[in-house]
């Protein structure tokens, strides 16, 4: 009896820990299918890595999670994407509020052409925060969380474009953390960076998962193995295999996953 209750609790716990759930998701660009019938559950406070060859649909998948694809003309999305149990594609969804909860870091660092401070304060400001002291606190905390504070604290008022590529990417992460999202989507965040900056960002991802749920697209197998808890392998718009990272990388069930991971194609 006791054991049964315990098992139920774990099951309930498991259910709560699902942050985003994708059900039967298909995406078309015009008549070209980009994703077909993807089912995947993103666990809270996990790092989920999406891997696969170029054009396999992993970036498309990532961008459906905060409806960034809406910006592209001619995109058709079918299926459901649940955030805390609510379908974000339901008509009447507040996309702006959604993107505040599910934020995104892009492949190339894209700081705004303004000061470091204004970059980080951008999010809180557009969401209505005016209080100078509160803004200062948020900016400092976000920069500390993004492991950038010590490098920029003396030049917050200088242009963000003067930072190195790695610093710019961490600034973009800080800018996102300042709006306190629940889910952080990262689209190959280190592909344009040098190895040292890359490692810094990977360490950062490890620190962030205590607070945030992270989904990361990467072309780098070692990176997926290093930073992620779960890995999803995409091929030609299909989700081939999804499971704990160590299982995917050591005992994949699908032959295609094995071939890709061992570098036989891709």
């Amino acid at each position: 009896m006791g054991r049964l209750v315990a098992e139920r609790l774990t099951a309930a716990e498991e259910a709560i820990r699902i942050k985003m759930e994708v059900q039967g998701l298909s995406v078309h660009y015009g008549n070209t299918p980009a994703l077909s019938n993807v089912n995947l559950a993103v666990k809270a406070n996990h790092v989920t890595a999406l891997i696969g060859p170029s054009g396999c649909g992993k970036t498309t998948f990532l961008r459906t999670l905060n409806r960034m694809n809406d910006l592209i003309e001619g995109v058709r999305v079918t299926g459901r994407v649940l955030l805390d149990g609510e379908d974000i594609y339901r008509p009447g969804t507040d996309v702006v509020a959604l993107r505040k909860r599910v934020g995104m870091v892009f492949q190339r660092p894209n700081p705004f052409p303004m000061s470091i401070y204004d970059n980080v304060a951008f999010g809180p400001r557009i969401h209505g925060l005016r209080d100078r002291r509160r803004l200062n606190e948020i900016v400092e905390k976000a920069l500390r969380d993004a492991a950038l504070w010590d490098e920029v604290k003396d030049r917050l008022r200088s242009s963000a474009l003067g930072l190195s590529g790695g610093q710019q990417q961490r600034l973009c992460i800080a800018r996102l953390l300042a709006v306190e999202p629940e889910v952080v989507l990262m689209d190959e965040p280190t592909s344009a960076l040098d190895p040292i900056s890359m490692l810094k960002i990977e360490e950062l991802i490890q620190d962030l998962k205590a607070t945030y749920t992270i989904v990361i697209v990467t072309h780098n197998m070692q990176q997926a193995a290093r930073v992620s808890d779960s890995t999803a392998f995409f091929l030609s718009g299909e989700l081939v295999e999804y499971g704990p990272t160590d299982v995917i990388f050591t005992r994949p069930r699908d032959r295609r996953t094995e071939d890709y991971i061992t570098g036989r194609f891709g």
């Binding site: 509020a97 951008f122 800018r175």
Partner: protein
């Protein structure tokens, strides 16, 4: 092998000379025009005091040469043109660049470019037959004056303002917009806080190029301004600008007379103003190049 090399070098050198010569010729012609206009213009001051010319309004040659009315008129119509055409053109550019669906853009963009090809006499004629009577009946006064000239010029500078500012809006990296949307910004917040500031140098350039076009326009202005050398008491009283006065009087004055020289100095004033605007454009553009 060496033969081919030699002939290539020969062609190289030949075309180099051709290009250098053309460039030199073009510069020479421009400099000659500026020099000629300036020389004739400055001859005015052997008879007329610069003070009288630049700061008094009594234009009654050959007795009085007060040209301030015209200088003021040129400035006034230019400012009015920017007031009418600037916001409208910017709004149109924002619409075309960021709001309109692709097919609307594809059909409107060539239409705005077509605007440029309409001869200024057509604009002037429309002003004369539509706007002047309208203002006379519904606003006040004779209808001729700064107001109608400003409106017509405002319409004439639209294509310039629209196409230059649309280009600069579209040149803003989509990555910046995505970053903004990715932080939960609305479309309007993204436009006003990210896209417009990033495109600002281009927008300033658009407005200045529009001003340069407006201040130099002669025909359309001459048809609707009223051509009376009096300082305007209101926006709807007939007056004149530098360009309209030159057009009006250049045929009646013998070359070399003080009157004729005074017209040349008015032309020189225009030239300096346009040059100043172009210099400002270059400064703005260079600034943009320095801090992308």
């Amino acid at each position: 092998m060496t033969r081919i090399r030699h002939s290539v070098l020969w062609y190289d050198r030949f075309f180099r000379y051709v290009f250098v010569a053309s460039a030199a010729l073009v510069s020479l012609i421009i400099l000659a025009v500026v020099f000629f206009v300036a020389r004739q213009g400055f001859l005015t001051f052997t008879v007329v005091s610069p003070w009288e010319f630049l700061f008094t309004t009594n234009w009654n040659p050959p007795a009085n040469y007060g040209a301030f009315t015209f200088i003021f008129g040129s400035f006034a119509v230019t400012v009015l043109a920017i007031c009418f055409g600037g916001p409208l053109g910017l709004a149109g550019a924002i619409f075309l660049a960021k709001v309109a669906p692709e097919w609307v853009r594809e059909s409107l963009r060539p239409a705005t470019d077509l605007f440029v090809g309409i001869p200024s006499v057509v604009y002037g004629w429309i002003g004369l037959t539509v706007f002047v009577p309208f203002v006379r009946e519904h606003v006040n006064g004779a209808g001729f004056g700064l107001l109608v000239a400003g409106i017509i010029l405002g319409i004439m500078i639209l294509p310039t303002v629209i196409s230059v500012s649309e280009d600069s809006l579209r040149a803003v990296s989509p990555a910046l917009e995505e970053a903004s949307y990715g932080l939960g910004a609305t479309r309007w917040q993204t436009l006003s806080r990210v896209v417009l500031p990033a495109a600002a140098p281009g927008l300033v350039t658009a407005v200045i190029l529009g001003m340069a076009r407006a201040i130099g326009e002669a025909m359309a202005v001459q048809m609707v301004i009223g051509n009376s050398p009096q300082f305007p008491r209101s926006l709807v009283t007939p007056t004149a600008t530098l360009t309209s006065e030159i057009v009006l009087e250049m045929g009646n004055t013998p070359f070399g007379s003080t009157w004729n020289n005074a017209l040349f100095f008015m032309a020189f004033t225009l030239l300096v103003l346009s040059l100043a605007m172009i210099l400002v454009v270059r400064l703005v553009v260079r600034h943009r190049g320095a801090t992308p």
